[in-house]
Symmetry: C2
Subunit: 246 residues, 2 copies
Amino acid sequence: MGEQLRLTVDRRSPVPLYYQVARQLEQAIASGEVSPGFKLDNEISLADQLGLSRPTMRRAIQELVDKGLLVRKRGVGTQVVHGRVHRELELTSLYDDLRGSGQQPSTRVLLNVREPATAEVADELGIAEGEEVLHLERLRLADDEPLAVLRNWLPANVISPTDEELEGGGLYQLVRDAGTHVQIARQRIGARGATTQEARLLGRRKNDAVLTMQRTAYADSGRAIEYGDHCYRPEAYSFEVTLVER
Amino acid sequence: MGEQLRLTVDRRSPVPLYYQVARQLEQAIASGEVSPGFKLDNEISLADQLGLSRPTMRRAIQELVDKGLLVRKRGVGTQVVHGRVHRELELTSLYDDLRGSGQQPSTRVLLNVREPATAEVADELGIAEGEEVLHLERLRLADDEPLAVLRNWLPANVISPTDEELEGGGLYQLVRDAGTHVQIARQRIGARGATTQEARLLGRRKNDAVLTMQRTAYADSGRAIEYGDHCYRPEAYSFEVTLVER
DNA sequence: AAAGACAGAATGTTAGGACAAAGTCTTGAC
DNA sequence: GTCAAGACTTTGTCCTAACATTCTGTCTTT
């Protein structure tokens, strides 16, 4: 297969050079322009071809190694990994994920109130028990099929959304629009039997298996922004993770 | 809190300098020697203190930023993140995870045979249907409590373990001992009701919720090394993931 | 013919310097 | 007193350069 990687960089662009190269490489792999096992030219040669220094070229490659798309071996070279490539578990909202995969997401707001934080919520958010928090409960649907029950608690001053705003998009979009940058999130993924309420909302029976996810998200200031306790219909949703040995 | 970070490097060690520094920083954070919100000295000053160049110091810090332990902001500095720090989902075996957390892992071998690959297994391993594979089924216990049912398929020539070897440790250890380096793995995490057999093994009832994980692992050669289909008792096990916005 | 020595090729680590961009704080003008 | 301009601090990007380490294949020797 006459594979030939053609990369370019635009030095007038404000986008970092290593980032430009990484995205093009990623695109070439995702589109199948280069197939699994394809061996890249060595770093120095690639850098020369693009008029870059080796560290910059190396950084671009490293990005994709970290993502699990390329494999490097000392003394040998760099190859495109074998096996299917799929979308990563990223810091995106379920809403955006669904739209990205061609489904039609929608939201039903079940609860949108302010209340004092319970001990559990206060602990997760790192605030005092009883402090006011925004409590949201939403039912997320994909193509009008119930997919997940989303329960979230946010410190009082992060956002004050109307029901309409909640129905029009994802929670993270609202947080970003409010000028808060979500930097890091910790998730715990598990399973349990559905409660009566969850079963009713998801169209299942009580104690049928549901996939659960608890998440605490932090802003770049280090402050906790959101605690979420979600449960998903397992036939319709699963999490994917790629692990790379460094 | 009289916090003072004391780092050292050993230039005679074959361990890379950035790695030495990263591990010490990680240790200091994990042990609580520096508390959340602690502001590190700037990169140049830290590099000077250790007699390192700025790129090396920067790389050490980057490692921890990627792990979600530190947060950097341009013009401001680098801080230890708020919130609890817990063990990462890494490319380690369940066996090692359990031992690391102070529990006593054990294994009961249910099946250890060679058989022709089914279509599903062949597809996951990237081999031809009907090609010989090693098929393992194990029950993993923690402190004599059943924890997970582990089903694995490996290409025929990777390992040939005895039941005793399987009972003495994790699968990945055997693969490593055979000289194969596991480089990357893709995992899909979901949930479903337990089958009759799983329920019996795990001490649950049929259709009780179990947490499931399907994994395909690849060697650094790009060849698939293992396909696993595991299910866990959800009260006893969950997956943790840290997501970092870059 | 097989085993070991050696050279070549590729990535891994480290150094040191320069400038850019973003956030914070001080200073000065109104 | 308030607001804006500018100085300063700190991380972000990029460069050149050198040497180390590991793997592969070849060539020599036995």
